[in-house]
Structures are given as structure tokens and as C-alpha cells.
Symmetry: C2
Subunit: 339 residues, 2 copies
């Protein structure tokens, strides 16, 4: 049988109340007594029964996901996964909400976070650009007692507890290696399409990509970024022109809007182009299956959302997190290993 608080009390020679004070870091216990209790805890190998604790505490955790209000496939996937977690969360005494914030109004994000802080939520997972304002908003949340996890794109030097996402520099490098090795020895031009270089993750991916290309594939000519605005229609507009300038042997698609890219590639009669893109979505999956894309680099949205929820919960309960479980991998998918 697992030891209980009663056993600790007996072994330490104190009353239940004192054990409770020590366990929950309540004031009014002498140093010496504290260590006596802790010694008893160690010898017994006591671990608090979290289920019973939460039951007694009548604790219902209140977590909120704050996402930009865009309609890319990636955001849609995140929303779906949040919905999935929501339904299972109730079993586990937590309530999860989602707040969508306009990506165009920088003030909106800060206002939303402040609102949540005042509301007294237990934790927030936020996907937001890194600005001095968002940084302060995160600090404010933390000061209000909320746990904060940054999602997809980190907000450094804020007080966030944890970042859920990938190293985008490494992701860009990975894309570079795939493009370089899939092309082989023949020289050629590489077109890079990104949403916007103001976007931190896009800029980092580009940087990682360029580094690898310069170091390992100097025979390839990487063209300046084509800004696709993460918008399929816009990409479909401007891409044909870029392709017409000729000799493009590979495309690296950093951001969203792959539907536009696929449409153009399907219509072009140019020779086979190596394509590496980001995020596994219905579009990119179909493109892999049709051999229009050669590889997709992605982060598992389901894993990210579940990880964010787990981490918020762990911090709220002051439990340790399992680092390896919460590490988001840079997944590479080819046609053959699609999940």
C-alpha cells in the first residue's frame, strides 16, 4: 500500500495538521519540524495522490489558448486539436477555452492577454508575435498568477514557463539539406517563398536554409525571397512570373499558401521541380501523394496542443514535466512515411 499523510505523521511524530502545513507550504512550522517531516516523506517514499488532492481542493483548471484569427490550414489544424483536447479535458477537471485574436491589430493581442490576467485564468497558451508589448503582457499574466506557454513562435525574455514548438533555424537547415541532396550534383536556381520576413519563424527558417546552402551546396543559386503573404491566391498570382524567368530547379516554401503553389505547379509544363514545404495539411499531404511535393517538414499539431495543455497543467499543479515527452520534433514526411 502507498504511504499516506497519516503514515508521515506517525513516522515524523507530528500531527496530521503539521504534515499538511509542510506539504502545502503553509506558514507556522519550525525549520526543525519541517525537516523531520521531509525526512519521513523520504524514508516512506511518499508521493502525494494528485487525484485525491485535486478532488479535495475542488480544483478545476482554467486554461485558454490564444491564437491568431487567420484561416490557414495550420491554424485550422491547431483549432481542431484544441477541440479534441477540450472534449477530453472535462474528464480531467479542466476547462479549456480558445480565444481568437485579430493578427492585424497589434493592440488586440495585448488587450486579450490583459483581460485573461484580470479574469484570473490558471494558464494561457499563446501564439503571438514577439514584440515588447506582448512580452509585457506575458509578464503581467505571470504576475497575476497564471502559467504561460508560448506556442509555435517563442516570446523570449518574457517570463513564460515554457515554449512549445520547434527550432526554426534547424527546420530551415533541414529543408536545405533535403533540397540540396534531392537535387544532386547538377547546378540550378532555388526559389524561396515565404509569408513575410517580419515573421520571426519564417526569417529563422530562411536563415537556417541559407546557411546550409552556402556551406554544403555552393553550386546552387538561392534566389531572393518571394513574399507570398501566406496567401494562396497571391502566390498563384506572382509565382508563374518567377518561374518564367527560368531555370528554377527547386522551391522551398517556408510559410502558408501551399494551395496556390500546388495549383501553379500542376499547370506548369516546366521540368520536374524539387519542392520542400512546411506543415502537413490536406493540401501538402495530397501534393506529396501526387509527387508534386518531395518532402514536407512539419510539427505535429496534435502533439503541440496536447503538450501545451499538459505543461500548463503540470506547472499549475507544481509537478515536474517530462522533458522528452514535451519536445516537439521537426518531422520530415515523404510520400512513403505519411502517417
Amino acid at each position: 500500500m502507498r504511504p499516506t499523510v497519516h503514515d508521515i505523521a506517525k513516522v515524523a511524530g507530528v500531527s496530521l495538521a503539521t504534515v499538511d502545513r509542510v506539504l502545502n507550504a503553509r506558514p507556522g512550522v519550525r525549520e526543525g519540524t519541517i525537516s523531520r517531516v521531509n525526512a519521513a516523506i523520504d524514508t516512506l517514499g511518499y508521493v502525494r495522490d494528485v487525484a485525491a488532492a485535486n478532488l479535495a481542493r475542488q480544483r478545476d483548471f482554467n486554461f485558454v489558448f490564444v491564437l491568431p484569427d487567420r484561416d490557414t490550414a495550420f491554424i485550422a489544424a491547431l483549432r481542431d486539436e484544441i477541440a479534441a483536447v477540450q472534449s477530453h479535458a472535462r474528464t480531467d477537471r479542466m476547462t479549456i477555452r480558445r480565444v481568437d485574436v485579430s493578427p492585424h491589430d497589434p493592440q488586440a493581442m495585448v488587450a486579450a492577454l490583459h483581460l485573461l490576467a484580470d479574469e484570473g485564468v490558471d494558464g494561457v497558451a499563446v501564439m503571438a508575435p514577439e514584440t515588447p508589448q506582448t512580452r509585457d503582457a506575458v509578464r503581467h499574466l505571470r504576475a497575476a498568477g497564471a502559467q504561460v506557454v508560448t506556442l509555435v513562435s517563442d516570446i523570449q525574455a518574457s517570463d513564460r514557463n515554457h515554449f512549445v514548438g520547434i527550432n526554426n533555424l534547424a527546420a530551415g537547415s533541414t529543408a536545405g539539406v533535403l533540397v540540396g541532396r534531392f537535387l544532386g550534383a547538377r547546378p540550378g536556381k532555388v526559389l524561396v517563398i515565404a509569408g513575410s520576413m517580419l515573421n520571426r519563424d519564417h526569417a529563422e527558417r530562411r536563415l537556417g536554409f541559407d546557411r546550409v546552402m552556402q556551406a554544403d551546396f555552393p553550386h546552387l543559386d538561392v534566389l531572393p525571397t518571394l513574399e507570398g503573404r501566406d496567401d494562396a491566391a497571391h502566390i498563384a498570382d506572382v509565382l508563374p512570373e518567377a518561374l518564367a524567368r527560368g531555370d528554377i530547379s527547386a522551391i522551398y516554401s517556408i510559410g502558408a499558401g501551399n494551395r496556390g503553389l500546388v495549383r501553379v505547379l500542376k499547370e506548369t509544363d516546366a521540368p520536374r521541380i524539387v519542392v520542400v514545404a512546411h506543415e502537413l495539411t490536406p493540401t501538402s499531404r495530397a501534393a506529396l501523394e501526387d509527387r508534386i511535393f518531395d518532402a514536407v517538414i512539419t510539427q505535429d499539431t496534435g502533439h503541440m496542443i496536447r503538450s501545451a495543455a499538459r505543461v500548463l497543467r503540470a506547472y499549475a499543479e507544481r509537478r515536474e514535466i517530462i522533458a522528452s515527452q514535451e519536445r516537439i520534433r521537426i518531422d520530415i514526411f515523404l510520400r512513403e512515411n505519411l502517417p
Copy 2:
């Protein structure tokens, strides 16, 4: 506030005892009453508080991992992850044991499983070859009320609840594409090293590999399997000879013993060979970093062990599993996206 059993009783107009009988499928309730209670459950959106339930039930789940007693890096990794889960399991009212079974004695595995069945464990995760005997042993476990999950290598047509592992045919195909595309257009010979073709997962990988090579890279010449017995020393013995026969431009290492492969490759003065191997271990990771290996195809051991534990728990508690969370991916790691 979440609805409780009391609320159900009120809404359904029955007593607490009846609600309890319905909830726990105890006999002695009329059909009509059952549906009245269920209707109340639906309208209230009641979900059982699993924590409270387990607390009351004084339930402590007893799960066992049964692994072959080999000392490959892969098995070692599994053991480590089991140890990690063990320590966190206590928090969650479960006890996890590990049983190591000789891989050489086919009877030993069956005996071990029968023992566990008689012992009355709540669930077993088993990594065992697929034989009529193991199949029967699994059936016996299930009949004894235990949940069973097969690990790494499936035992089909047994009664197992779930399989935790990857599709090895697809893994082999993935390896094939990587080898083929990394080599480019130039012809050459491809050496395949496996543990033993009697091993189902190895055979499947080989099959997937061959299919892709034939279909997509007919200019490459795939040599017959070199049996490495999953043993580094043996591989180091026989590999130099195979290489000396000349013109090997790629190696696909299906099984264990990569330490031997790395040792030989480090000493050889042959031109750069493309190497794709399985399982991310300290050896293969170092080989990637040293550019001796080009890609490693792997299944996340941590994910697998945690998934097995979660699935056993879910079945034991009769809860639903989240399919996407339990799907084990075929991970591709290059030097650039190492975790």
C-alpha cells in the same frame, strides 16, 4: 459546476443508488429506468470524475512490460523509457513492472505470459515474435481479464487490444526513397544488412525497400541481404569483405549492430557511401553528426512506451483512446533535425 451523480438522481427522479447501478452496469434496474437515467446523463452532460472514481475504488493498476532480454541499444532505450514511466506511474495509481525473457527460448515467452495471466495483472505490453504459441498466450491473457498491447512487432489475429509500433513495410520504403534520392542518377550497388530474415519486422522492411528500389530506382543494383545477426562484432567481421567486392555506393542497415558498421566505415578508404540506418541510438546519432550516416529512420521509444502505458490504462478504465496521440510515426532524422 460539473454535474454529479446527485444531479443525475434529481433530474432522473431516482435515488443515488439507482444512478450508481446504472453507471456501473450493476444488475437490478429496469430497462425504462436505465434509459431515464441515461437521458438525464445526456441532458446534464455528465462525465464521471475518473479521479474520484479511482480514489473510491482504491484501484491501483498493475501493468507489465515483457521484453526480450537482448542488449541492443534499442532495447536499452526501451528499458530506460520504462524506468522513466515507472517513476511517474506512482503518481497516477499504477504500478509498472518489467519482465525480461530470453529471446532464444521460445517456450520462455509463453511461460512468462501464462504466469502473468494467472497472477491477474491488469495489462501487459509485450514485444514478442509472432508464433502460434504467442498468439495463444495472448488469447489466454485476454481471457484472464488482462488488457494486452503488442509492442514494436505485432501479433496479429490474437486478441490484443492494440498495437504500438510502426508499419515496417512503409519504413523500408522510406529508407528506399532516401537511398535512391540521396544517390541521385548515378548507378551503383546497394548493400543491405539485416539481423535475420526470420525476424518479421526486418523482413517487412526489406520488402518495402525492395519494392521502392524496383519501382523508382531501377538503375540501382540491390545486393542480397548480408545477415549481421544484430551483432556489432559479427558485422565488423564480415562487412569489410563485402565492401572489398567493390562498387558499393549505399548501405541500408535494417537492424541492430550499427556500432560495427560505423567502425568499419570509419576505417575504410572507400569513396563516400550513402548510409541509411534504423533506430536513433547514441551510436547512430554520433554517426549522423559525423556524417557517416546520412539518415536514420526511427520510432520514438519514449513515445512508444508512454503510449503503451496510456493505452493499457485507457482500456483498463474503459475509456476511449485518442487515436492520433497513439499513432507512432516513422521518424526521419538527418544531422540537421536531430532532437
